[in-house]
Symmetry: C2
Subunit: 289 residues, 2 copies
């Protein structure tokens, strides 16, 4: 891996609209491991400095996605604490630490999936918004699929709900696909609302795909529980203000252009903690309050 290839991988992380925060966090650790193994360096000190700079860069490549920051910063701490003096030894230990961090994240997600399955067991009709890799796996493992029903949204502008619909169909889990605008109507037919998260803020509020806050409001109005499945790695650091919301390309809306009309395409909204019935992390269901 040379500097050019490293830049290309970082840009891939920045432009990825398909994968969620957990997956991109682990991908960032894979980039870190490859950089540790292959980035040219004259000495252990040079390599360490280059990897610390990389950690700082990976931390903020997707500011709405807390796992990238948290994984990159943990890796950075380990680099700083390292007392290795040979470049080859540093390559090996830094790469191994990055892969271990990715593995720990994978294990935490596995535990979140198991606890989510326990939490939603009593409910028949589940309403969700956007596409979460954690929840996709929950739906995949749901026992007794024929007795459940998933209500899912298109999730404009990129319609990632279509991907989830195709998967649910393949798993013979009955489903209803709706426009995002119908969330208020269809929440009345659901027993539980369930979403993933890109980040959890210090005050307990949840950053997730735009529209999540509308589902939370509608669930609250309909008096059904609203659960968020997310490992603790998604907690946003408490030492800074919440991230500015990520603004994406206006062209994604596919609207014609009109003079004087801006296109709003902000990917994430924030759901206040008050509307969250419980947060399901790797330790189990944390009821609010």
């Amino acid at each position: 891996m040379n500097e050019y290839e490293l830049r290309a991988r970082i840009e891939q992380l920045r432009e990825d609209r398909r994968r969620g925060a957990s997956e991109l966090g682990r991908e960032a650790m894979a980039v870190a491991a490859d950089a540790a193994r292959y980035l040219p360096a004259e000495s252990a000190a040079d390599l360490s400095a280059a990897l610390i700079t990389l950690a700082d860069e990976l931390a903020v490549v997707r500011p709405s996605m807390a796992p990238l920051y948290n994984l990159a910063m943990r890796w950075r701490q380990q680099l700083k604490a390292s007392v290795v003096t040979k470049a080859e030894d540093l390559r090996e230990s830094a790469a191994e630490q990055a892969m271990e961090l990715a593995n720990a994240s994978r294990l935490a997600v596995e535990q979140v999936i198991a606890h989510t399955l326990e939490t939603i067991a009593p409910y028949r009709v589940i309403i969700t918004h956007s596409l979460s890799s954690t929840l996709t796996e929950v739906f995949h493992r749901l026992p007794d699929k024929a007795n459940h029903h998933v209500i899912l949204t298109e999730s404009r502008p990129l319609n990632e709900g279509h991907q989830l619909a195709a998967l649910l169909s393949g798993w013979q889990l009955p489903a209803t696909l709706i426009t995002d605008a119908q969330l208020g109507l269809f929440v009345q037919r659901a027993d539980v609302a369930l979403v993933g998260a890109d980040a959890l803020l210090a005050d307990g509020s949840v950053v997730n795909k735009s529209g999540t806050s509308l589902l939370a409001l509608a669930a609250h109005e309909s008096k059904i529980p609203f659960y968020v499945s997310a490992e603790t790695l998604k907690q946003h650091r408490t030492d800074t203000a919440p991230p500015e919301p990520e603004v994406m390309a206006p062209a994604e809306l596919g609207a014609p252009g009109w003079p004087g009309v801006d296109i709003g395409n902000v990917y994430f909204d924030t759901t206040p903690a008050r509307l969250v019935s419980g947060w399901i992390n790797e330790h189990g269901l944390q009821q609010r309050g």
Copy 2:
């Protein structure tokens, strides 16, 4: 107009996705007037019976749209009360009554527009959902357009927000077009939320394009007023249950089909009266409570 042409006009009313409840109510009265003038009949009694049957049919052609019911029933009452004995006289009076009802509706809408302009005068940024002919005219007549800003939604599945965006652009009224899912985010940048209505129910709740209830919830959460502009003709009769929501063609969502995945395409949702700050009708602003 023969029976075949009459059927075709009624089907046009049923299939119209472009025009709102007020306009379709007036179009129903135009159909009624033409039927009165031209439908074949042997006698005044025959004609009266045919027109009363037509009134009953027009009343329920679009069950979510109260003006059609109210106009058709008022016309029916006048037909029943008529003491005309010559078919020619009945043709003339019934056609005139239908056109007068349409004109009264037009005048009421004019008054709603004027009162809406007064009500929103103190606010700079207006957020709206879907396309209302009444509100389109409000935006058209808004004085000092450069100092206002309209946030409007695509309004899936048919994207009627694009039509409104094109009009606002032509009138040089600055605007931002967003996905429906971003309502929760962008309501925080607005000073007032403003929508039209297809019907007002007896308990004060509002039937309008799906997504309206989400805007109302978000406006309430953001503590900005949520106003509904609609003439009293939109009040749903109190003697029956609210209409079943109109379900439209799944194909409108443009999604691929998947076995076991239904497509939900319900056009209207209901916003509870509690979330409505005020109803602007032809008599002025009616504050809630």
